[in-house]
Symmetry: C2
Subunit: 686 residues, 2 copies
């Protein structure tokens, strides 16, 4: 007998490459578990859940140094046969809990059989999401009650979870207790429970249960609760797949466009905070209903929700009067992450026991949304110095690399979202989202949402006949102002020239200032779309706040330039890097070093939803971030004032100037020039 023959068969798993020898007759699932191979199972190896499907490979594997003979796995047994008859097993697949090792074997674990599947994300993104959700399903067989050994059904369920899944400290909320006996009996003493594990360890809570082995899928919501919009992703908690995405306007807008107006509303109106809390919770309930309908699921299948939001939204969601956030020292009621139940927040459309996780806030003005951006974009792991700007009604700004991260928020106001702009509108079909102005003729051409063509291309007018040209959205207004600057229609101070000064009748006098006509739709019953002097002022205020915040962090970090810039935010993803830089929204960097992180806050929420370890990670990260409070930094005011010019009064933009020429014009006619460069007010936070 050779030595080889006396050895147990060698089992090699791919793609992990993990290998080990196991006695003949060992189930593949057992071998996988002992080697720490990621192979799923909900039923605990009873051949009923089919989550442990594997694909054996036969033949020569010189790479692994084995030859796999036919018969290296046991024959199909009755359980597999029954499963195949009933539901069908894919060609070449076996059930890992039934097939046993008979000889050397190479076993592939397909992605859908892995617990820690990786979620494929669209577009360029900093990180891959690995599935390790807080809520998972477990199937157990519970011992029947015995009159001679009286114990409660719950106690026997706990014993089953301990014995069959090694789960300790399991609790059942009071609201589920009344259903337990029925579910156990209906399932013939088998049950599937959805168990939520705290990321801090300790207790594990059952949040839903089904008789027998459930076919039900469980879902989670990742919600980015913004001042202006509430955006939600519905994710399958098994594989992280986004089943539906949806958004609604934040109904708190009727109490104030920006954060500080909402804080003021609360200060001026007793009970105003409660009105706003109630409004946002109602909206979230409506959104939950809508997204469930869109995905074709029942809302009670939503067992978890993760929120990211700025501190004012955070407090209002929690029912806390945000008044302290309106004045120094901007004290948060609580800054740590929160683990709550849906019931606590009156979120009564999703499962009543759904668990809520709210990311930690960084500081009084730097919220859980900024924490989510940090989690998603990982500046703390960056080799080069990254500036991450989450553009919204309030901008969250992060600057850092491996050696440390700084954060602040800056009150840009809603101009970047098309609000407080004369022809401004939300990003919706019919809104101008891109614009180019011919530097010679000063004529514009543009593109609207819902149509791929530019306005000077054939077919544009037919294609847009239905939506019409309705206004300018956030990215459109940024491009418009930047293009006007490039075309010499606006001077560095932000003054729009007259028809005379610019040589185009599109520059029209409006009282003592001028505006630029982009499109006159009045003949077709549409609006006249112009950029007014006031619009330019609003954009200047917004971009100055953004730039000043970034500069302040650079000062703290003692640098004059950054290596790369990431624009984030629902809208940040659509901003043209070149135009943002012409405007002076962001510091000067090589144009190819400006990237888009998409809705990084929303992505951060999804990461925290799908991976419990990410919750610990963001909590640690938040503690390590250096918080800068813009409101109390003298330097911020100075940066703000200097950033008013387009692109900037003092900072050179050498990289930008390799890309475009910015005409040296000055439309200050002396008389009311002060109205141009001089009128600089500090925007209220928000």
């Amino acid at each position: 007998m050779s030595t080889e023959q006396t050895q147990d068969p060698l089992v090699i798993f791919t793609p992990s490459g993990k290998r080990g020898r196991f006695p003949v007759g060992t189930p593949v699932l057992t071998a996988a578990r002992q080697l720490g191979v990621d192979l799923d199972s909900v039923c605990g190896g009873r051949g009923i859940c089919s989550k442990c499907q594997i694909t054996p490979s036969y033949g020569d594997f010189p790479k692994h140094g084995v030859t796999v003979e036919d018969g290296a796995l046991s024959e199909w047994n009755k359980v597999e046969q029954r499963y195949d008859d009933k539901r069908g097993l894919k060609e070449g697949r076996r059930l890992g809990c039934q097939a046993t090792v008979q000889g050397d074997i190479v076993i592939d674990v397909p992605p859908e059989s892995q617990v820690h599947k990786q979620v494929v994300r669209k577009a360029a993104s900093a990180r891959v999401i690995e599935m390790d959700p807080a809520t998972r399903l477990y199937y157990v067989e519970v011992q029947e009650p015995d009159m001679h050994e009286p114990t409660g059904d719950l106690e026997r369920l706990k014993i089953a979870l301990k014995e069959q899944w090694d789960l300790d400290q399991v609790t059942l909320p009071q609201s589920l207790l009344p259903r337990l006996q029925t579910v156990l009996r209906k399932g013939g003493w088998t049950i599937t429970v959805a168990l939520h594990k705290s990321h801090e360890g300790g207790e594990q809570q059952i949040i839903e249960m089904w008789p027998g082995l459930t076919e039900e899928r469980i879902y989670g919501l990742a919600i980015d609760l913004g001042s202006t919009t509430i955006a939600a992703h519905l994710c399958d908690l098994r594989n992280g797949q986004v089943k539906a995405s949806s958004g609604v306007m934040n109904p708190q807008i009727r109490f104030g466009e920006d954060l500080m107006s909402r804080v003021s509303y609360s200060m001026m109106n007793p009970g105003g905070d409660k009105e706003m809390t109630s409004a946002v919770r109602t909206a979230i309930n409506g959104l939950t209903e809508a997204i469930a309908t869109e995905a074709g699921i029942r809302p009670f299948q939503i067992l978890e929700t993760v929120f990211v939001c700025n501190p004012v939204m955070h407090h209002l969601l929690l029912g806390i009067d945000p008044v302290e956030l309106g004045q120094a020292p901007f004290a948060l009621a609580t800054s740590q992450s929160l683990s709550l139940s849906a019931r606590d927040l009156e979120l009564n459309v999703m499962n009543e026991n759904a668990q809520i996780y709210i990311l930690p806030c960084i500081a009084g003005h730097v919220g859980a949304d900024a924490a989510a951006v940090a989690l998603s974009e990982e500046p703390n792991k960056s080799d080069d110095l990254a500036l991450i700007v989450d553009v919204g009604t309030n901008a969250e700004i992060l600057l850092g690399d491996k050696s440390g991260v700084l954060a602040c928020s800056s009150p840009t106001g809603p101009a970047f979202e098309g609000a407080q702009i004369s022809s401004g509108q939300r990003a919706a079909p019919g809104a101008i989202e891109a614009i180019r102005i011919d530097p010679v003729t000063k004529e514009p051409r543009f593109r609207v949402i819902g149509c791929e063509k530019w306005s000077d291309e054939d077919g544009f007018w037919d294609l847009t006949a239905q939506t019409g040209i309705t206004g300018i959205c956030g990215s459109g207004i940024i491009e418009a102002v930047a293009e006007m600057r490039i075309a010499g229609l606006v001077d560095p101070k932000g003054l729009i020239g007259s028809a005379e000064q610019t040589g185009t009748p599109r520059c029209e006098a409006e009282g003592r200032t001028n505006s630029y006509l982009i499109h006159d739709g009045t003949e077709d019953g549409g609006p006249r779309i112009t950029v007014t002097q006031q619009d330019i002022r609003e954009i200047q205020l917004a971009k100055s706040a953004l730039y000043a915040g970034a500069r302040l962090l650079m000062d703290k970090r003692e640098v004059d330039k950054v290596d790369r810039i990431l624009l984030a935010g629902a809208f940040g993803a659509h901003i043209s890097a070149l135009h943002a830089m012409v405007l002076g929204m962001i510091p000067d960097v090589p144009i190819d070093k400006v990237g888009s992180a998409g809705n990084a806050a929303g992505t951060g929420a999804r990461i925290a939803l799908c991976n419990i370890g990410a919750r610990r990670e963001v909590e640690t990260l938040v503690r390590q971030i250096t918080k800068i409070e813009t409101a109390i930094e003298e330097k911020f005011q100075e940066h703000f004032v200097n950033a008013n010019a387009i692109p900037h009064a003092t900072d050179p933009f050498p990289e930008l100037l390799t890309q475009v020429t910015l005409p040296e014009v000055d439309f200050n006619t002396g008389g009311d020039g002060g109205e141009g460069g001089g009128r600089r007010r500090r925007r209220r936070r928000g």
Copy 2:
């Protein structure tokens, strides 16, 4: 210099006798803490709560081997002076946190300064309650927010609790979070929190909070939720004092008098369990309101409630359909103790964050009330073999000593509470509670609730004119039947003799049976109070069930007699031992070995309310108790049948016969004798 002079002063505490040497200048509170002396403090040694008052003693103490000189404690300081001016310190008292050690000293800690005060209990009782409540007040000074080191107010509160009280893992429920910022600012960054510690360790939850050092007292409810009555004690959580006691009828009575009728109601009426749950919760809310009013406190000061109840009441309180408890194997939904929030049970009169503790159930028919009796009466610590019978609509029976405890429940029905008895009524003024029948004249004399005199004493009729003689309560009917047996009006089989057979016209024919007239109040517009043949049958069924349960436990324990008997239950306290034994309710023991434990279940609830360690104790005890299910024991039927006779068909009662003579009579006239001894039906459980 002698050795003594170089030593630190000796500090001796009484009554503990703990002693140690401390450097000159050590505050007495510090010395007490280091020695583990039980000295209270809420403010943490800041001289504002006055809980740490001590009495220094001066002069020679040969017993302790010290002489205490004047000046052994520091002079009064400003803090003590201010406290004395403002609130007054008792003569000789000092504040332990302010007075410092200057020389050898003997210090007495008065009872009111001890945390673990002992609660004085009325009457004979098995154990003293030592105060160690789950909920206590803590005063802390919280650091103000700092813009440069942004953290949440909650996080700084947690740090203060850790630093000032060494309290870890503190949580704040979501419902309190909205108030936190206001309370902290109102208290000038000082706050008192009521903290609830889980008896299982781990998390500690803030359940109420006040600005600064609160004057507010906090209370707990101990509730004995019975099938017929709900009884509550309101206790001061600081010293265990019962501030008020109150009870209401369980409104579930309208769905069924006994437990099994309620289970049936639920089975027959969809949603019936929910009706009963709602009824009992509403009643508890009303009782909470009433008891708070009686004690002159506000209901939100009630921060804790402990429940004891039988399994059916337990399930209905929790909103669980009790249907499984109506049939073998009598499976409880949960048997372990439960820690909930008042909100979970819709108990919305007490503090919304009040913590609820429900004692564990022993088995499907042996509930948390039996567990409470075991906790209160401690059969597990008894040297002799004790039989404890908690008499109610369902009897809880415990038998045991140090070597082990057995438990069962037995369905006695409500006869012992005066229900299903023709002249029966609840114990209330006007009800006959004691009765004696002259063996010669067969004339009765009696006493009613609300009057100390017997009916044959002068003034009785004047004193009872207002209430009248309205009926017979539970203890009255037991005495009546026993006295009828002693007087030869009832034979051992339970048959009432005719006027002819007994020689008294008070024995009146009623159809084919006889009844005995106790009192004819018809002339005064009152009722005729009689004991009918059917009444005797009801009492026989009830007492047989009780005796059979006790006998069954004795069989299991393999004994023929017990050493002592404790009668417990709201009504058990009022039963005459002799009469109970004549009736054959309880086994034969020397009459002086029958004691009363009062409302032992209610006492058990109070113990668990006042002492967190008692919760762990009862949970351990319950696991160790051997559960006997009467419903499935053949022997129970046999015991039940034999126990029908008065006092018993087969068991001798030698101890009883040293006390009374039981006439050998037989009123069976042959014809319908079967109606007497033969009609034995198994009562439905309840």
